[in-house]
Symmetry: C2
Subunit: 180 residues, 2 copies
């Protein structure tokens, strides 16, 4: 970064444009990750081939409200990222824009919080589904619902990848703001 | 903000100093909030006055690993905030510092993610303790452990207050970086 600054005032435009292009691609990856998570979780559904005193053993993501929140949070973040692509393209064209970058850092931080909330709440429940808790008499439902559990565990990956991308996006915006 | 910028280059120092002072006090409030949450959760312990086929009904925060993570996350964030007070004082004295502000935004974003993860994972379990889940056969333990449940619910407040403070801190740093 120091090396890029040697060019002085005139050299900062192209470097900022480069940062804006990286910003754009990070957002595209973020859309894929969060949308993938939302779809993977939202389509989770397992019906066991046997039934006993209950009518039928069936596990769906919305049996647990936390997973519904997970799907909503990931969808909201994906929608936000799609909208923010417009601002990102604007930053590629106008590399000296300032107010819009501040707004972007602020909203990115808010979305980081929302995505982390959804992902870690779901992770807490997934952990419980795998391990159960003997003190609270909560049983590990993964012993019955294998494919359900694999699916809900896997769908967390995209969400946590999205968290990483948001931290990088905030860092990138801060560096760009400071280098103006 | 626009009004503050009218003073031009010479007027930005004092305004940045004011922002650094606000930054300092937000961090102090954040320390109180997260430390309060950690202590409130870490001292939660309830023993019921009766006992049946189990030896004794006793609920402690570390019966549930998620609550242990909550205490650790809040303690780590509180410790980080104490350390960051040094940088905040440095920014009050040297209002033109730049690299340290970028570092602060980056670490603030990371800590925002950690605090949100701890708070929302705990919230997911607290919700389960209150409502239970009939599909997974998880019972609402709050019917027995009243004071335990009130305590773990209350200790979430400080943590969510801390999340709000971090979003404000990131916004404040971004504005200060842009106004240099």
């Amino acid at each position: 970064m120091k090396g890029l600054e040697i060019g002085g005032h005139s050299g900062k435009g192209p470097a900022n444009r480069g940062a804006a292009v990286v910003d754009f691609f990070l957002r595209v990856i973020g859309i894929i990750a969060t949308l993938g998570s939302a779809i993977a979780m939202g389509t989770t559904n397992e019906t066991l081939p046997f039934f006993t005193q209950f009518i039928r053993f069936r596990a769906k993501y919305n049996d647990l409200p936390t997973f519904t929140f997970f799907v909503v949070a990931n969808s909201v973040v994906a929608a936000y990222l799609v909208l923010s692509l417009g601002l990102s393209i604007f930053h590629i064209m106008k590399s000296r824009a300032q107010g819009s970058r501040i707004a972007l850092i602020f909203f990115d931080a808010g979305m980081l919080a929302l995505l982390t909330a959804g992902a870690s709440a779901a992770a807490a429940i997934v952990y419980l589904a795998h391990k159960g808790n003997t003190r609270a008499n909560w049983f590990a439902i993964c012993q019955q619902f294998n494919s359900f559990c694999e699916r809900i565990s896997g769908s967390l990956i995209g969400s946590f990848g999205g968290i990483l991308i948001f931290v990088l996006l905030i860092l990138l915006s801060a560096v760009t703001l400071a280098r103006r």
